[in-house]
């Protein structure tokens, strides 16, 4: 399961997040160890997206501490940049850059942030595209690809900066049903290779087979966490039970 000797790669201590008057996160405590696969689930509005968006500072937390790979997240741009280089993100709506081809999408960040040379950059990008089995679309525009293909490119793009952790924000929620498995397969491969990941998703099958730890959130709080076996078969909290009933029976 978790490997405490290597240390925790992500640590959230008592994190609060307010949007105006509305409190989206209430006293969240979470640790993620290197190589751990965490699935975060919960009803909409529970704060799960907000949680992971705080980890790469797309949202700024209002109180508490967030430490990623030894860097504490503050307003300081240096800290934020350092964290973002090591944390990759895959979005629900893919967010591929429409004005760049598939391979150019992957090459942009390494070129600008790591000043990679053109040939090396392209070679690395093509390798990543092969890894997600989409190398023959390399020179196409994103708009020419299906949703499932675009999301696989998005995963490859997240990998192009060699992140230590990848955050997934409902990666399959915007996909037609027949494309969900091609994306989940890529994510399962990544998990098998030992990538640390935090995944917000409704795909409970994925959670059961891949997750080391399942986190259930409701109304801004972490209600229950546990390995999939205990979480799904023996939930401790009534709220968890209710959620599982709603999501697993229809």
């Amino acid at each position: 399961m978790t490997d405490n000797e290597v240390g925790n790669i992500i640590q959230l201590e008592n994190v609060d997040k307010y949007f105006g008057q509305f409190q989206a996160l209430k006293g969240v405590n979470l640790t993620v160890a290197k190589g751990e696969r965490v699935v975060v689930c919960g009803p909409s509005g529970s704060g799960k997206s907000t949680l992971i968006r705080c980890i790469n500072r797309l949202e700024a937390h209002s109180a508490g501490k967030i430490i990623v790979n030894g860097h504490e997240l503050t307003d300081a741009v240096k800290d934020i940049d350092a964290v973002r280089r090591e944390v990759g993100m895959v979005f629900q709506s893919f967010n591929l850059f429409p004005h760049l081809t598939v391979v150019e999408n992957l090459m942009l960040a390494p070129r600008l942030v790591r000043k990679a040379s053109k040939d090396e950059n392209r070679e690395k990008a093509m390798q990543l595209l092969e890894r997600v089995k989409i190398q023959d679309q390399a020179d196409k525009w994103p708009s020419a690809l299906s949703g499932g293909q675009q999301q696989r490119v998005a995963i490859a793009r997240a990998l192009c900066m060699n992140p230590e952790v990848i955050l997934f924000d409902e990666p399959t929620s915007a996909l037609d049903p027949e494309m969900i498995s091609e994306v989940l397969d890529v994510m399962i491969d990544l998990a098998r290779e030992g990538m640390t990941m935090i995944c917000v998703t409704h795909e409970m099958g994925f959670a059961r087979s891949v997750a080391d730890n399942v986190v259930f959130m409701d109304q801004g709080e972490i209600v229950e966490t546990g390995p999939p076996a205990t979480f799904f078969d023996n939930p401790k909290s009534a709220r968890t039970r209710l959620f599982l009933e709603q999501i697993l029976t229809h």
Binding site: R57, R84, F91, N95, P98, L112, V113, S146, R157
Partner: protein, 231 residues
Amino acid sequence: MSFDFALILDSIPKMLMGIGLTLQLLFLSLAIGTALAIILLLMRISGRWYLAAPTMVYIYIFRGTPILVQIFIIYYGLPQLEFVRDSIFWPILREPFGCAIVALSLNTGAYVSEIFRGGVLGVDRGLTEAGAALGLSARHRFIYITAPIAIRLCLPAYSNDVVSLMKSTALASTITLLDMMGIARTIVAETYAPYEVFLSLMVIYLIITWIIQRTFGWIEKRMSRHIRSEV
């Protein structure tokens, strides 16, 4: 009331002599105005109130008053002020051409900066977030993600503004400049034949408008290659 075709054939070449001035007014004001618009845009979206507020006031004033009044203030009004007459800009502001360029540029700058701002706001937030998640700095995100997409979004409105600017150049004739409009007015004053002269001038302006629109249509098509999907 007869239509004097001979007059038309005689007047058109004379009016076309003014096309040089018309085009100079157009291109110079467009270039300066667009450059100004970029500066104003960056100030407006900088997030710093001391940059954004004056910009918003400037835009509000220049979009809220008639351009004719702006031209008059600069050409007739500024000479009243001593510090203007003593400044280094006086040689420019003393001449009607200089005043026209200044007025048109300042005016266009205000409109175009709002057009650019509309384009920037139209860029899907998710795309800049994806850039941020990849570790791109704010500057890089603006140059490589926001700007290319925003420019394409702005093109229709920008092309409309270029047409508007072209039409505004005709107002230079009110401060003695002999662009096409100015020459036309002189001819009409001499011949009392407004239909022949003004209608033919109208055709010339319509041709210029058509050229502007076709050019931007072509640019837009080229910039949208990536949108026409094959799926």
